[in-house]
Subunit: 240 residues, 6 copies
């Protein structure tokens, strides 16, 4: 089984970080690869960044289809291009936000999400709602730190995350916490240990759910809305 | 006041059609222009088509900002890139789906939407829900005709639309009907007349709401999520 | 085009204030008039006040219909009698709450509302929900000042509003603020300027949307629930 | 204990019918009276009829308060003026729609409502939703018969109701049916018997819930939104 | 009329307390009995406690059916086994949470709930939502005191409840408060008096609604989901 | 890794069928066991059957905990006792309904569920809603066949299922179908093949998700509501 992680931004160190996390949790016989487009924003912080990243992301899926990739993970917590990607891929496509929400709904009754910048809060609220967790999600919080600062100031990031995890349990009544950025993946184990609260990382969640779906034989439904894009006489960009 | 219509697909005849409709309903002192990217899908039929169209759409907004455009209309009923476009623009950005839904909620209590292909039905359902019309919208219907066939087979298209309008009132209890594709704009007056039901066209709705917002002095809030994209040291695509 | 503003309470100074605001934002060729019933409560502060104001409001619409008025604005933030008024009028009827909500949903992702008395908070919450903005509206706040004190103590009112606007952004994450009372209309520009947050006034919003709908040719749907009241053999009050 | 039924329309025969039904189900020591305003529409068929009936309804409550009435029932299925009435009354005020919905949610998991005219369907849908029964209510149906025809054509009315009850179980999966008009009260027992489905009448439901609340000592909360209308220096209509 | 209160836990003093409360509010000609299973948890604090209590609860209903009991009240605020009980009983089965919520929605627009332990908060939130009061319920609060401590430390319990009632009005804007545990029943009158806020006790509410339903002739619908359990060739536990 | 399937009913052939399905899809190094209580109903058809099955189910989990079981699957589509089980178990507990819904939301945008008896339809609707799939689930359908007849009349069952799958796509616009009974597990592959629609079986889904969660190191949150049941001085049933 070949699972491909696509980091939609063009910061290679984040791609590597996601891959490292996936290698830790993957099954022995799973092949994992991780790629990122070269011409997308350095980080995804809002809807415009998302939009500029999606065509490159879809190109990576088309390449993956040629290679026989079995499932894809979009390693950005905004799940950019998730529905589009599912139209282009044969196998399952996992968003790390949706995967983390599904895990959180299984191991707790109430959770909070902690992301980087305040501007992403409404975006994530909409996603959480679309994934059916309106009632389960107590609050989407932010540490007010840009994505790239997670790598540059890891100590500060961890301290800020711990403070918000504490607030999540005390003020929100959260029973689990989701890390709302792929760049926080490597922190999840330590945060769980220190805080005593289950801390869910989307890359981990998506990696395991992807393997689960592939072994079970589930592929993306091609009945109606996730069917392959229709070919037009010209101007067809992703269906060629 | 300068309002720019952006047709996100690359079919120039659809761009012209939207412009013609806008010219009919605009105020005397409003300047309207209409553009389309050259490298996007010929029609938007699903999420992948949407995704491939948005970067070109954002480029057109960046060009418009340099020209001092006061408001933008995205002339595709899926409202592709709407939130991203609002981050990039100073003035209001109207989606024709959202505009049509707002009009329908003002002149009726219950409405149905009629679109082209069945694969767009779930996409439009999600939009209608995001715009707060879950209860007001009885049903999203389709005539099972590709977008480009609206121009190629106008007689068939009109007949199919009339049949679905009739079903909307009889089966759904709809009190108004929204045309779920920019390519249906020019049909709305005749369909209203023949059916006796208010038929709402999104281009018309968005054009008038855009003028309304501009005269009232409303611009897109730059407080938090619709703020301009953050500049990164490199890789910044739309903020340069 | 003739647009009539109906202030449902009987405080003429509030009627004049709404008219003044409308005159500032109207199109050059729009005729605006403003009226109020003489026998309704001096201010609308709760459901009973609303109920006592609506028959007088409907009478004004019936008079307006005889004059050929093209659209009506109900200048009270509780939108009293909105659905009833739409049954009686041929053209569109705008509520200032619904209009403000539609503007807020177009120029921001999250907003708060600031009204006068706490007793109106649940009423406005229900309206906001009915207009589909449950998720977009962060909070309905109040300054705990009676409606008529807005005119009597304008300095205090403005200070209280500024404080709540600040709380809306800091505590609620609001990206825009709606003024929840027609009597606050004249303050909106200064509040926007001072706070740096888009402050939306319902009279302004409704005035511009009314013009937009009339030019576009939209009238209230007479299919089903907004149809004219049925005439009964006797006792028919508004249909005669 | 004195419970007063207020029929908000001015058709005395409907008032008598509601009283008769209440007399059948009341406790031995409950005093019931029934009144109707004299200057309201002959029947309530839509929002304008409702609006014209509410001031007369509130006057009846003010008269009742002077007499020491313990609870009120608004005997019209649209629950017109319910919130306003609660502001004016000390004791509980029951709407027959809300009462019927509460009973239906207690004795079944899924129900349908059958009303008179199609124009009332969206109104009742909004009420059912406001009372929290969105998921429990399968469908609001109509027999397309004006309210006053229920008395004039009782045989036809009963046949139409039976047909819709049957459809409710077969097509909707309804487990109970609510009669959506006060004028259908006297039919409920026979319809239950003939159809084998629990048929709920709002007058019955409201009568028994009113007695229940009064004995339990519950009165309308005067904390915040149901507090008595504020007195203004002049123009106070219902608070005098 | 015979109404049976079933306390699903096995603490007899709590059963007596519920009975005493019911005796205070019942109609003169109503017979009330109260029972509890002997082999269930001493208190219900979470889902596992609930689950272990339900078979004993259903046994009590089966015994009650043999005696001709007319209606049942499940005297635990989590409404454990409510739907199951309705399948087994002919007459209505009232949950004290659902009953309290229905009363709160009738006498106020916004309420809060105060329960014992934080672990019950999500359970009660789900119930409140299932009963349609998502919007009406401001907050589910807890005093962080185990159920059995209500009897052991009544002074402390009352002080904690008063503090949370005050917070409910000040912070939540609650207009009424529901006591979220059967063990708080006897406190409701004094808490109402001291706080000035209507305080609703579920045992009281359920007792009066049960009488109301029985007199009105309503029984549990046996059409579809509340029908008696199907008999199987063997292993039938409650239908024998 | 040891995963235990608990069939809450006492029909051993259904336990074997679930085990067989699990053996087909499990990872090589996963140990699977399947048990059922001996004193529970032969099949779960409604809430009372559920309630009678849960204590036996919890006992099996307590036994499993002593053995070091890593995760549990409740092999009944009503997910009986799911929340209670999570309080008792250290590792994750999967319900086959929740697992199937999560898979369906990942590989399609719209799905329908097909269950056995109509009486289970509202129960499943509530579950689907609790799992956040209100909008994704088009319809819960039934084939009107008792659970035990799935084994007795497999040919009829398959034909009925195929007919409902066809209706799901044609009438509901479903893009995937969930089999709403553990007893249908072995049919899923053939139904997928014959219908061309992805057919999701909950046992398969839960088995794979359970493995995924265990490898990722996720256990049930013991913060707040899923914490172990509190020990009482006596009467403690599951915590001993």
């Amino acid at each position: 089984m070949h699972i491909r992680i696509i980091n939609p931004n063009s910061t290679a160190s984040m791609t590597r970080q996601a891959l490292e996390r996936a290698l830790v949790v993957k099954n022995a016989d799973t092949q994992v690869s991780a790629v990122n487009p070269l011409d997308t924003p350095l980080s995804i912080e809002g809807g415009a960044d998302e939009a500029m990243a999606v065509p490159g992301l879809l190109s990576e899926i088309i390449k993956g289809e040629a290679l026989g990739v079995d499932a894809y993970i979009i390693a950005c917590f905004d799940d950019p291009g998730l529905h589009a990607a599912r139209e282009v891929a044969r196998g399952p496509v996992l968003g790390i936000c949706q995967a983390a929400v599904q895990v959180a709904m299984t191991i707790s009754r109430r959770f909070s999400v902690i992301t980087t910048l305040p501007r992403s809060v409404p975006i994530i609220e909409e996603l959480v709602s679309a994934y059916g967790a309106d009632r389960h999600c107590r609050k989407v919080r932010s540490i007010n730190l840009p994505v790239l600062s997670l790598e540059e100031s890891p100590v500060e990031a961890e301290a800020l995350l711990l403070r918000e995890i504490e607030r999540s349990t005390l003020e929100d009544g959260a029973e689990a916490v989701i890390l709302g950025c792929a760049g926080m993946s490597t922190l999840c184990d330590r945060l769980t240990e220190v805080s005593g609260v289950p801390v869910i990382d989307g890359v981990t969640a998506a990696m395991k759910l992807a393997e689960a779906l592939v072994v079970a034989g589930y592929t993306t439904s091609k009945v109606n809305s996730y069917n392959y894009p229709r070919e037009k006489s010209a101007g067809c960009v992703v269906c060629a």
